[in-house]
Symmetry: C2
Subunit: 192 residues, 2 copies
């Protein structure tokens, strides 16, 4: 019976993250990564376009995935509730499928170039969420504001979740972050 | 008595915006701008580092200016209220001093490079606002969430204000955007 072995893709990702954290993202080449993983450049290019792609592979699909989750939430929910439900669902899938999130976050935080790429990614998610929220009945301005809030809540939830790998399920962090925000906003909320 | 004449800086800015809108930001050179304004490159470099700087001159000061306004708000106000007061004050100053905001917004919206720069600028403001809100008593997570909300409210308010140049004063737009947001969030707000 064969022993379990990590896939080539996982080995390349592990190697890349270890090197990025050790030497700094800017100082690591694709050859460094393949050498460290004991694999070829050819294998690398089967999974990743370049070294940045190790950190952002699949992120092009995120806007469509999140906005679909918001669109598909229970039709009885209003825009804000559908937003939270969609974020909770998407995050649960991401949390299962994005390996090494805490390490990835630390690498991104250490590089201006990667932070810029991360913001570009989130801006695309915001645009896509805005459309989904308009389809769910939010006005243009409210939809954009809610989308911005959604990104803020999602990032907070994801940070909390990655910092406590054995903690609660992802949706709990989404609802905690949303509760923290609405509680902080209570003093300026409209009183009916 | 001399006639009133726009300053060299204003003439360069007008020329740059007209050309950016006409030909697209990427297709305009500094020489195009100086030719169009009837001024020299030497004069240009007295005011601007490069063509992008025409759109972002002074924005390095924005994080410090906004966070100071939040720190200096009435000590009786809680973090969220101090945030709105600070945004209203800063926006009022910006609205008076940033020429050609609507044209600038259209140019930025048309260029991926400029949108990236704009996001970088706003990220610096978010960091600075987060610190100011912590100093005003918000917890780390709440401070960051409120800072994100502040940016969203500020952008909405500024967009509304620039689209109606003869409309209400800037603080009115801040409070309208905040009211729209808290009303959209009401269904998920904590009920005591």
């Amino acid at each position: 019976m064969p022993r379990w072995e990590p896939s080539a893709e996982d080995r390349l990702r592990e190697a890349a993250l270890a090197l990025f954290l050790d030497r700094g993202y800017e100082n690591v080449t694709v050859s460094d990564i393949t050498d460290h993983a004991g694999l070829t450049r050819r294998t690398f290019s089967r999974y990743f376009a370049d070294k940045r792609d190790v950190l952002f592979a699949g992120s092009d699909r995120l806007p469509a995935v999140i906005s679909k989750a918001v669109r598909d939430a229970d039709p009885a929910l209003g825009p804000a509730e559908a937003l939270l439900a969609g974020l909770a669902d998407t995050g649960t899938i991401l949390a299962r499928n994005v390996p090494r999130s805490p390490e990835r976050r630390r690498v991104v935080a250490g590089s201006a170039e990667l932070q810029e790429r991360e913001r570009t990614k989130l801006a695309a998610v915001t645009d896509s969420l805005t459309e989904a929220l308009q389809e769910r009945g939010a006005s243009g301005t409210a939809a954009r504001l809610l989308a911005d809030v959604g990104i803020a809540v999602f990032r907070t939830a994801f940070a909390g979740w990655t910092e406590e790998p054995d903690g609660a399920d992802f949706p709990v962090y989404v609802h905690e972050a949303a509760a923290e925000l609405t509680s902080a906003l209570a003093p300026i909320a409209q009183r009916d």
